[in-house]
């Protein structure tokens, strides 16, 4: 969960992003449009995560398909993280990733609120 920017204190690391990437210096403010060129990108939910079994509202897709196909576009078709999020969103949510209609990016509520956070450098392409 991306509720916690986290920290590093010697051998003690807390927070999801530092645990994975060993840094607390990722850009958190609109990094999707303004990547920080660190070469590191963290994606996680703030608040409550969207259930994978929930429907996206486009055709009959669920967020599980969005999540797994984001991985496919990043790894198999070699799109950048930014573009893989965007293309998966077009196919399975029916809007561009940063659209005002995309609940993952804009945030959701009722009954549980949350949003998908993109920190750091989504311009990177996975090796």
């Amino acid at each position: 969960m991306a509720n916690e920017l986290g920290g590093i204190n010697g051998n003690d690391i807390y927070g999801m992003a530092p645990a994975w990437l060993h840094t607390t210096n990722l850009r958190t403010n609109d990094a999707y449009h303004n990547p920080d060129s660190t070469g590191k990108c963290f994606i996680g939910f703030e608040g409550y995560s969207k259930p994978w079994t929930d429907t996206t509202g486009y055709l009959t897709y669920t967020y599980q398909t969005f999540g797994s196909m984001f991985y496919y576009f990043a790894v198999v078709q070699n799109y950048s993280i930014h573009d893989a999020l965007n293309i998966a969103s077009q196919y399975y949510i029916g809007w561009s990733f940063d659209s005002i209609n995309n609940l993952l990016y804009q945030g959701y509520s009722n009954p549980y609120s949350g949003k998908l956070q993109i920190w750091g450098d989504p311009a990177i392409t996975l090796p």
């Binding site: 969960m1 991306a2 509720n3 916690e4 920017l5 986290g6 920290g7 590093i8 204190n9 003690d12 807390y14 927070g15 999801m16 645990a19 994975w20 607390t24 958190t28 609109d30 449009h33 303004n34 939910f45 703030e46 608040g47 409550y48 995560s49 259930p51 079994t53 929930d54 429907t55 509202g57 486009y58 055709l59 009959t60 897709y61 398909t65 797994s68 991985y71 496919y72 790894v75 198999v76 078709q77 799109y79 950048s80 573009d83 965007n86 293309i87 077009q90 196919y91 029916g94 809007w95 561009s96 940063d98 659209s99 005002i100 209609n101 009722n110 009954p111 549980y112 949350g114 956070q117």
Partner: protein, 365 residues
């Protein structure tokens, strides 16, 4: 007419070969049309000066893991010059554009005409050019609504069933038109500029037709139908390695029920009907005689608003917590419990990534 068995085999083989050849030629023709359509779109709508780039076709393929892929084609081009690189992808359905996205690295892309500093002027130009590109008359109503706006500030305006929302950021400006049908949100049309360059355009609305816009079930009735259906609903849950067991009892928090109305596909993937989505939080979940203390749960029920028939019923388990982002990065002892919880979450996430990776590798073999 009877055909003798010996003669029928060569005839069948001939028919099969002919079908394959015709299908193959049709597919190649469609690919060529889509490729030409994409280059025309880049030149005439995105305003890219193609003559200043080395244009490379990266891929032209039927989309993978998409429900209605038979008539679709995903085209990806890379455009390079000494100033930078453009990576553009389009999806075409029956040779008509469904969506476009583009990212660029290096300097500003080479354009035929320089964009205005005013996003409204740029938006009008995109609508004009897209109207010429598609020949679609549906664009005019969007242009008419746009022309009632005086400045490109964050705003939402409506005219009849059409709603326009303009949203701007430090680098971006988005223009988003949504159609509503008796209160049901339908597909729309939108595009986005990044630093004045058109980087995405969605035209999903042109791929759908309206089957019915009749709303005979109101919001209160929809919630009542959902509550009634859930009297006999159960699902299975498990904690850790334990075998999944059925839920025997739960409490619906109907005061917190949320209902939204939107247009959704029913018999086929291109025809839309109004549907209520009712989501009700659930409390006091029992498995046998034990109360379950897992993640927050709700149940979503889809109800066709024109008939009252239930489309789906799905329990939803939420992870995480209601905390907002904590910006304090100082370490302290109280963070120990949080560290343990986050590491547990990390293990789950890592497992999901590994599983997804294995599945994808198997599929791509």
């Amino acid at each position: 007419m009877r055909i003798k068995a010996k003669k029928s085999v060569p005839i069948l083989v001939f028919c099969l070969m002919a079908t394959l050849i015709i299908t193959s030629n049709l597919s190649q023709a469609d690919t060529a049309t889509s490729k030409n359509n994409m280059l025309a779109f880049l030149r005439n709508v995105v305003n890219i000066d193609l003559s200043s780039y080395n244009v490379t076709l990266i891929s032209a393929q039927e989309p993978y893991n998409v429900l209605n892929s038979a008539n679709q084609e995903q085209i990806r081009y890379k455009l390079q010059n000494s100033n930078g690189t453009l990576d553009a992808t389009c999806l075409f359905q029956n040779n008509a554009l469904v969506w476009f996205m583009m990212s660029f690295t290096g300097g500003t892309p080479a354009l035929i005409e320089q964009p205005s500093n005013d996003p409204l002027t740029n938006a009008n130009a995109v609508l004009d050019n897209y109207m010429k590109y598609t020949g679609s008359k549906n664009i005019q109503s969007k242009k008419d609504l746009l022309n009632t706006v005086n400045s490109a500030k964050d705003t939402t305006i409506s005219n009849g069933n059409l709603k326009l929302t303009i949203s701007t950021g430090e680098f971006t400006s988005q223009f988003d038109w949504i159609n509503t049908y008796n209160g049901a949100t339908g597909p729309g049309f939108s595009f986005e500029f990044y630093k004045g360059i058109l980087v995405s355009l969605d035209d999903h609305e042109s791929t759908f037709t309206i089957g019915s816009a009749s709303v005979k079930v109101d919001q209160i009735n929809a919630i009542n139908i959902a509550v009634d259906r859930l009297k006999n609903f159960t699902w299975s849950i498990s904690s850790g390695p334990a075998k999944a067991e059925n839920v025997t009892k739960f409490t619906l928090l109907t005061d917190n029920a949320a209902a939204t109305l939107s247009m959704q596909v029913r018999e086929d993937l291109t025809t839309l009907y109004p549907m209520w989505r009712v989501e009700i939080p659930v409390d006091q979940i029992y498995v046998g005689d034990k109360m379950w203390s897992g993640s927050p749960t709700s149940i979503a029920v889809g109800i066709w608003a024109d008939t009252g028939v239930i489309n789906y019923c799905q329990e939803l388990s939420y992870g995480g917590s209601s905390q907002s982002i904590q910006t304090d990065t100082q370490s302290d002892n109280s963070a120990g419990w949080l560290y343990l919880a986050l590491m547990a979450g990390a293990v789950v996430a890592a497992t999901l990534i590994v599983v997804t990776s294995v599945v994808l590798k198997k599929r791509t073999k």
